[in-house]
């Protein structure tokens, strides 16, 4: 056992990258849930984003266009969920699960011709001398643009929810849709837009896996990340910065357990592998004192009765 081989700076830099797919997807889902909608289809939208992004990046040679396509793919798929839950008033839990099933199948169909191909690479941003600064350089200035976009997105969502009228309306719809409706807000329209935003974010999160983290296309490659993203939103008690914190914590625990293994620490691996989930539960218990957090209308069906 030799703990000195673990470099905390590199570990932190790595966890930022590892956390980005969950961060993107969870931030999107946060907006959806703040609007009062529970979409359990994150995994399905992520995997569809992963293949849309991959395919378009390969065809156009541009990873950035790939990410745009991934966002579009996720948003289009989420429209299906929006139609089911907002227009036909179907149960959100069941619709979300069905969406995941559908997304996994559809992505596999679309991806048939893309197995074994290497996608174009998205280079890290060149910060010049900044990247040379000890400690801060490798942690802060050595990443790809999407990672910074993810952090920026958290900030933007936070600011929008907190300071803008759009954010106020969104929260009002999520807290009490009947009251919001009475005030003349278009509940269904606002929720549909929120769902599409969530889909776009999830799609980008998926594409981050297929274009940057892995990068390749294989069926089912998101391997359950979407579920983690869902957990993260509640873990963060619907607060954007806590999503960032949670994503880093979650990514960090996984990184740490792999690092400990590499350092030869004799802890049973399977218990290390389950540790992120157990720690999430512990944190949930600690945070559960904060009961005011959940949006009041979360998961409830809205129908404007007259």
């Amino acid at each position: 056992m030799d703990l000195s081989v673990i470099n905390p700076i590199l570990l932190f830099a790595a966890l930022m990258s590892a956390a980005t797919p969950i961060l993107l997807a969870a931030t999107g889902e946060l907006v959806v849930e703040r609007a009062g909608v529970l979409n359990l289809g994150v995994e399905g939208m992520m995997i569809l984003g992963a293949i849309c992004g991959f395919a378009i990046a390969v065809e156009t040679g541009s990873p950035i266009i790939g990410f745009v396509a991934a966002a579009a793919g996720g948003a289009v798929l989420s429209l299906l969920f929006a139609f089911l839950t907002q227009i036909t008033l179907a149960n959100q839990v069941a619709s979300g699960l069905a969406l995941t099933l559908f997304g996994l199948g559809l992505s596999a169909l679309l991806g048939q011709g893309y197995v074994g191909i290497k996608p174009p690479r998205l280079p890290d941003i060149n910060f010049g001398f900044l990247a040379e600064i000890p400690v801060i350089g490798p942690v802060v200035f050595s990443h790809d643009p999407i990672l910074y976009f993810g952090i920026g997105l958290v900030a933007a969502v936070w600011a929008t929810l907190k300071y803008t009228r759009v954010g106020l309306v969104l929260r009002a719809v999520g807290e009490n849709h009947d009251a919001a409706h009475a005030l003349g807000y278009k509940v269904v329209r606002i929720r549909t837009l929120a769902i599409m935003f969530g889909g776009a974010c999830a799609g980008m999160g998926g594409a981050y896996i297929s274009l940057i983290r892995v990068p390749q296309w294989t069926e089912g490659m998101t391997a359950g990340v979407g579920w983690i993203a869902l957990a993260l939103v509640v873990f963060a008690s619907w607060k954007p910065w806590r999503v960032l914190l949670g994503a880093y914590l979650f990514g960090g625990i996984t990184q740490l357990q792999l690092n400990l293994q590499g350092a030869g620490v004799a802890i049973p691996v399977e218990y290390l592998a389950m540790s992120p989930y157990l720690i999430t539960i512990v944190v949930l218990v600690i945070l559960s004192a904060d009961k005011s957090a959940a949006p009041g209308s979360l998961g409830r069906t809205f129908h404007a009765s007259h």
Partner: protein, 359 residues
Amino acid sequence: MKITTLLASAAVALGLATSAFADGHEKTKVGFVYVGPVGDGGWTYEHNKGRLAVEEAFGDAVETVFVENVAEGPDSERVMTQMALDGADLIFTTSFGYMDPTINIAKKFPKVKFEHATGYKRAENVSTYSARFYEGRAIQGHIAGSMTKSNIIGYIGSFPIPEVIRGINSAYIHAKKVNPDVQFKIVWAYTWFDPAKEADAAKVLIEQGADVVLQHTDSTAPQAAAQEAGNVITFGQASDMGQYAPLPRVSSIIDDWAPYYIARTKAVMDGTWESVDTWDGIGAGMVGIGEISDAVPADVKAEALAMKDAIASGEYHPFTGPLKKQDGSDWLADGEVADDGTLAGMSFYVEGIEGDIPN
């Protein structure tokens, strides 16, 4: 009526059908049961390539069918039964977990031939086949030990099962032979399939000083991580992963089931099929060694190719004594060669590897 009688009568009917095709009137039907999707780019992908090779080899004389994503347990039994009912003459079941289901269903269809990959239970109409991937690992170990500068070789394992442990031992023995200072860092992913986790594992190993990463998982994620890090070499796994050549990927182990599948299908057509236990390696072409790229120094490449030939011809066995187990106890005496039984169930490290096998 009892289902066993029904199945038996169906099997009799099939038996008649089987004799009918022997006159050249009917196609030979070959079924494949896959545990993953054919688009997994790894294990199932390669088995499916073997299936396509069978179609190519026999053209209209065969018909192949497959079902993908079949869970082990009752689902696999149902899929096998269905293929047998639909008139399959030969069924390949391509995952270890199909072992007991294959034996169960083979009992009900004595006329249908079954081939189970990587298991150890056989019957009158059930053969087993597996590949000696550890032969390829020996060559990887040799190249890795010769080329490492940091003397740290990273190894990504899926689950601690004999197959994986055998590969680690084989690679270690041959790395150690050319480089006594070499050290193995082993990370268990505890998943069969999670490309993102494989990427993480590779990055961690590289950060901890490994400049060679060996993988016993099937995605290209570690290749990409190595490429990004630079100055790290890797080996393709399951498929050639040639898109990452010449660096980081310097060679590969390729699962090549085609020769075996073609031979066994031929045996059924000729009526010469018998239950056998096949464990083939480089010699029979079941384990392919991908082209060794120019990134490997010429002398190392020559040695590696010589080792490949020696293994292929049976002249050299990767597990040849003197070898000790990790705890220092004797395993193989000088010149002694490991028997297949020990290799098949290998659950110990050889001397020099640090750390414990989980559980």
